[in-house]
């Protein structure tokens, strides 16, 4: 749960510490601090035109409170330095101060409104009670906080935070009937749409039948698409669902969703980046290239930090360079990497990427000229070190190759490629015993990595085969096969989920419940799907308490899963 702790105002030199006497004397303050008076004036003008104080604090304030939107906490006016008291004297709730000189910088203060102050007080009380495991008290405080947050405009993270706190407080009191609607409301608030919970339910339903592509899959997909089409959703939700689909091997569905998102948010670089990445990892480099190139021509969003924009542009050109290299278009690839370096001359990734292009052109000396400086500047960089080793190996500089590979291995002894290079170099230096030893280590590593890849592949293939039997009208064979897969790979969740789904489709709902519960008892928690399944099965069995209990956990875990999905780069 997020917390917003009052900042250490001592460090600010803004006040003389004292004990807060009563809420009536408390005011809430936010601060933006900048270097020049003109900057401060400009920001003040933006706020007066409707811009968010918090957003501008995050973007421009040089004060430690910037990341918290400038929030300083609740304090008494009388605790502030006299000059600040004068500046804030008469400042009404919700208003902004004049530009105020402050220790060589220039400050703007915003006094929180009463509702904001009330929200802070009640939400903090909820947090405190929660931490002390007084969940009933916490729920009461959060309930109050929710009411205050609902009065704030625009509705923002404060409502989300309090809703989340409330939902958790209910859950931990096992008040699932109360928790469930609050969770759904929280999800709607966080993911930017009142219908987000419904869309996500349909998303879960679709993922549950990934392996069972029959008419019921088509129907489930249709319902999901209907829900998406009639629901305004935020960018983040499109990306999170798409990434979740990709992980579940619903590739065309993931792509379709992001294509729609790109249509709805044509100016969103994030959406286009995600779409391009999706195409790239699902073996559609031409489409990925098209979108990355489109991205390279898109304008930067208003207000973005120029340094951030340059970095983003550099990343886009690096992606273009990488794809061009894969397509054997080395001239264009090099050109793209050079363009990336124009945006970010110090980018080691771009320089290494350019070196990789040279390597593929059969120019290891040119590659080394790029790799070398990066490796020298970053001795702990494995990507740089093993590349230096590789280029030297190709040039026949075996001692240098062996040394550079050893540096990479000192950082990561399990680096397969570095191990191979070192073994190869040593053998060519006639250091047979050492070379053979390295070779043995490499071979073990290679075999281990290959076995791991094969294992993942085999699990998918076996699940497909078993599900295929079900689709052929041989359910008992399917069940047998799923059970055998579980025996062979008892630590992988997909076969339990698929077995349970098969049992459910056959109307054996108690058996399905047993399968899903077994999965949990073995400590296998795939994220949210098992809880969704249990919720469905218990509902069918008429056990509404159990159904609601698992539904709450599903919602809780779903949010976490979606946040995680946003962090994947689909790589």
């Amino acid at each position: 749960m997020k917390r917003f702790f009052p900042l250490l105002l001592l460090a600010l030199g803004l006040f003389i510490p004292s004990i807060v006497r009563s809420q009536d004397e408390l005011i809430g303050l936010r601060l933006i601090e900048v270097h020049t008076e003109s900057d401060a004036a400009g920001i003040r003008a933006q706020i007066q035109s409707g811009a968010s104080f918090e957003a501008l604090a995050k973007a421009h304030s040089v004060h430690a409170s910037a990341s918290a939107g400038g929030y300083l906490g609740l304090l008494q006016l009388s605790d502030l330095k006299p000059e600040l008291q004068r500046a804030l004297n008469g400042l009404a709730p919700g208003r902004i101060s004049a530009v105020t000189p402050l220790d060589g910088e220039f400050a703007l203060f915003q006094r929180l409104s009463m509702d904001e102050v009330n929200w802070v007080v009640s939400n903090d009380a909820g947090i405190q009670a929660f931490d002390q495991r007084r969940y009933d008290a916490a729920a009461q405080s959060f309930q109050q906080a929710v009411q205050y947050a609902e009065k704030l405009t625009p509705v923002d993270y404060r409502l989300e935070e309090s809703l989340h706190g409330l939902a958790e407080s209910y859950r931990l009191q096992k008040k699932y009937n109360e928790a469930e609607p609050v969770y759904r409301r929280y999800i709607a608030a966080h993911w930017g749409g009142s219908s987000a919970p419904e869309v996500l339910d349909r998303c879960a339903a679709l993922i549950a039948v990934t392996y069972f592509r029959d008419s019921s899959f088509d129907e489930t997909l249709r319902k999901f698409q209907e829900a998406v089409n009639r629901s305004p959703m935020g960018e983040d939700l499109y990306q999170a669902i798409s990434a979740t689909f990709f992980k579940a091997q619903l590739i065309p569905e993931a792509e379709a969703l992001m294509v729609r998102a790109a249509e709805l948010f044509p100016a969103s670089k994030d959406v286009h980046f995600h779409l391009a990445q999706l195409y790239l990892v699902s073996s559609k480099p031409m489409k990925a290239l098209e979108v990355f190139e489109q991205l390279s021509r898109m304008k930067a969003p208003a207000g973005i930090d120029p340094a951030v924009d340059r970095l983003q542009q550099s990343v886009v050109y690096q992606k273009i360079g990488s794809i061009r290299a894969e397509l054997a278009d080395f001239e264009q690839a090099a050109s793209a990497y050079k363009k990336a370096l124009e945006f970010t001359p110090d980018s080691s990734e771009a320089r290494l990427g350019l070196g990789d292009v040279y390597l593929r052109e059969g120019k290891p000396d040119d590659a080394l000229a790029e790799y070398g400086p990066v490796a020298a500047a970053a001795p702990q960089s494995i990507p740089a070190q093993f590349r230096v080793a590789d280029a030297n190996l190709r040039l026949g500089n075996y001692p240098e190759a062996a040394t550079a590979a050893a540096r990479a291995l000192a950082i990561d002894p399990k680096h397969q490629r570095a191990r191979y290079i070192r073994a190869t170099a040593l053998l060519r230096m006639d250091r047979k015993e050492e070379g053979d030893k390295e070779l043995e280590l490499y071979r073990n590593l290679e075999a281990e990595n290959r076995a791991e890849t094969d294992r993942g592949r085999n699990v998918v293939v076996l699940n497909r085969g078993a599900a295929g039997k079900f689709l052929e009208g041989k359910p008992e064979e399917a069940i047998d096969m799923f059970r055998k897969i579980i025996e062979t790979y008892p630590d992988v969740s997909s076969q339990y989920l698929n077995l349970g789904m098969t049992q459910s489709k056959l109307g054996r709902h108690q058996a399905a419940v047993d399968t899903f519960q077994k999965m949990l008892s073995l400590g296998m928690d795939d994220g949210f799907l098992v809880y969704w399944n249990l919720s469905q099965e218990y509902r069918i069995l008429g056990d509404m308490d159990a159904s609601r209990r698992h539904e709450v956990v599903y919602l809780q875990n779903l949010d976490v899963a979606l946040r995680d999905a946003l962090d994947w780069n689909l790589e």
């Binding site: 990934t210 590739i251 559609k284 059969g362 490629r417 191979y420 070379g435 290679e446």
Partner: protein
């Protein structure tokens, strides 16, 4: 009319206004063109792959092809291997292999009916050698469930002697085969690569693109040990895989080639394995092997990862007298070129040689080193075609049907893709698998036979290669095996030594014309031809005139000569 070339091989063909230097003999573009003459030659074979919704792996992995002179008339004939069907027994019953007799006039006659070669299950590849040294090449055909050894009766027919010979395989999926004399006893032995333990009963359900059914990755099955058969000299073979030291349970064998890479007089074996490390079996003497692939640097790609090794060949790409190794892989992996450094070590020169760049977008199968333009160095022809027939459903930068590659060697081991300017034959886009080279019209330049999966075979006639001079050498062993398989031939031309070796089985599921071909460029004579026979005998012939086919018998010298047939 021959193109006038100055000493030092200055290229006379200016395609884009670039004059190459004296030190570099490679041409940008070429006047040698290849045309597909299969239909007019009477090669009307269509490979039956039995493609089905169940996506049985063998459906996408055939079709073998080989060039061999089965009737010993000096004109290479053609054998094309057929597949069949796992779901339709009627289709399976009529999926016959085809034997085509060379009519000596650029046409071939289908003589299958009289050949005695029947339908043999779902077959894969083939190789040929005179295993009983009776003067007529015999035939070995590999398959998914059974292999066949056919003895050539010398009268245009073959007899199935599999059971009697004891060389029927292990009832598992065999892919390529090759003959070589591992112990120099004068009888060729047989190496058969076995792939994975696929059966119809254990067929797996594999998908791509989020649920579309496709052909499986080999690693969803278990690898199978390949087999080395020792020729007992009495018409029978013995499985000596374990005793010989080549028994491995970790290889998905697809391609194989024999070659003496360390010039110690004992032939070695290179096996291309699919998605697991390749094997290099070093012959320590008398047919006892040690696997040295990793140490030699030929087991995996430059990034230290195993690649999808399919086809393979050995040849000396840079004239240093050492056999180099080439392996075909998947697209994005590049095909691998390993340059022999001597002392048992190889350098991966895939990108440095230009091969990597040229092969990056292609899935390669059969391949052959051959001198298509008769300039003296070995070029490369590669058969390409994806494995996944429905690949377009989930990838946007590749196709099932792909063009084959012709990579021209500049003489120093650097290669350049000249396919787009080498005639309509290299503009074809098909699902190519096997590639075999040979001088089918005896006109002095090498033609190409291509087996395509589920499609008609192609016969690419070389037009223009013989504008430069050449030699074809047919070896006849006396103490060595009858075909001279394993013999190393060194031809000295203008002071430069060209190396070839006689190999029976290479590429992917196929075999080239056994005769050794040398391009001489503008030289009208070679100073010296030296043949190092497997028996240890060394023969040499001085002042060999160009543009003829020589038959050289071990210990006896030239026993026949015939000029090239000019068209």
């Amino acid at each position: 009319m021959r193109v006038a070339m100055l000493p030092g091989f200055i290229a006379a063909f200016i395609i884009v206004g670039v004059m190459t230097s004296v030190s570099s003999a490679w041409q940008q573009g070429t006047t040698v063109v290849f045309s597909n003459v299969a239909a007019q030659a009477g090669i009307n074979f269509k490979h039956e792959n039995g493609a089905s919704p169940q996506k049985f792996m063998p459906e996408t992995m055939g079709a073998g092809a080989l060039i061999f002179d089965y009737d010993n008339d000096g004109w290479p004939d053609i054998f094309l291997v057929n597949g069949g069907s796992f779901v339709d027994s009627k289709v399976a019953a009529v999926a016959r292999h085809r034997l085509y007799h060379n009519n000596r006039n650029a046409t071939f006659t289908d003589v299958t009916a009289a050949s005695g070669i029947g339908v043999s299950g779902f077959a894969m590849g083939a190789c040929s050698a005179d295993y009983d040294n009776d003067g007529f090449p015999d035939l070995y055909v590999t398959g998914v469930t059974s292999n066949k050894l056919y003895h050539n009766n010398g009268r245009g027919g073959f007899v199935d002697v599999t059971a009697k010979a004891g060389a029927g395989g292990a009832g598992v999926w065999s892919s390529s085969c090759a003959f070589g004399d591992i112990d120099n006893d004068g009888n060729v032995d047989l190496f058969v690569t076995n792939y994975v333990d696929f059966t119809v009963e254990n067929n797996k359900y594999c998908t791509a693109g989020g649920g579309v059914r496709t052909y499986c990755h080999p690693n969803v099955y278990h690898p199978l040990p390949s087999i080395l058969y020792h020729n007992n000299g009495d018409g029978t073979f013995s499985d000596i895989t374990k005793e010989a030291g080549v028994y491995r349970t970790d290889g998905n064998g697809l391609g194989v080639v024999f070659g003496d890479y360390d010039n110690d007089g004992w032939t070695d074996i290179y096996v291309a394995n699919d998605s697991v490390p390749n094997f290099l079996f070093h012959n320590k003497g008398k047919g006892i092997f040690e696997e040295v692939g990793f140490r030699a640097g030929v087991a995996v790609g430059a990034e230290g990862r195993p690649l999808a090794g399919m086809g393979t060949d050995m040849g000396d790409i840079n004239g240093d007298g050492l056999l180099d190794i080439f392996v075909t892989n998947l697209d994005k992996e590049t095909h691998s070129l390993f340059r022999n450094m001597g002392k048992g070590l190889f350098a991966n020169v895939t990108f440095e040689s230009g091969v990597g760049q040229a092969t990056l977008p292609f899935v390669g199968f059969g391949a052959a080193f051959f001198d298509y333009d008769n300039d003296g160095d070995l070029d490369l022809a590669i058969a390409d075609g994806d494995i996944i027939d429905n690949v377009k459903l989930f990838r946007d930068n590749t196709t099932y049907e792909q063009r084959n590659l012709l990579l021209q060697n500049d003489g120093s081991g650097r290669f350049h893709d000249v396919g787009p300017t080498s005639g309509p034959g290299f503009a074809l886009k098909k699902v190519s698998r096997t590639l075999a080279v040979g001088d089918l019209d005896n006109d002095g330049d090498l033609d190409i036979l291509i087996g395509n999966n589920g499609q008609t075979a192609d016969l690419l006639r070389n037009d223009g290669g013989n504008r430069s001079n050449a030699l074809l050498i047919r070896t006849v062993g006396v103490k060595s095996n009858r075909d001279g398989i394993g013999a190393r031939l060194k031809l000295t031309v203008n002071g430069k030594v060209l190396l070839r070796h006689i190999k029976a089985g290479s590429s992917y599921q196929g075999q080239n014309d056994l005769r050794a071909h040398f391009g001489l460029g503008t030289a009208k004579m070679a100073e010296r031809l030296e043949i190092l026979w497997p028996s240890g005998t060394v023969d040499s012939v001085e002042n060999v005139e160009a543009n003829q086919i020589l038959t050289i018998s071990e210990g006896r010298g030239v026993t026949a000569k015939e000029p090239f047939r000019k068209n």
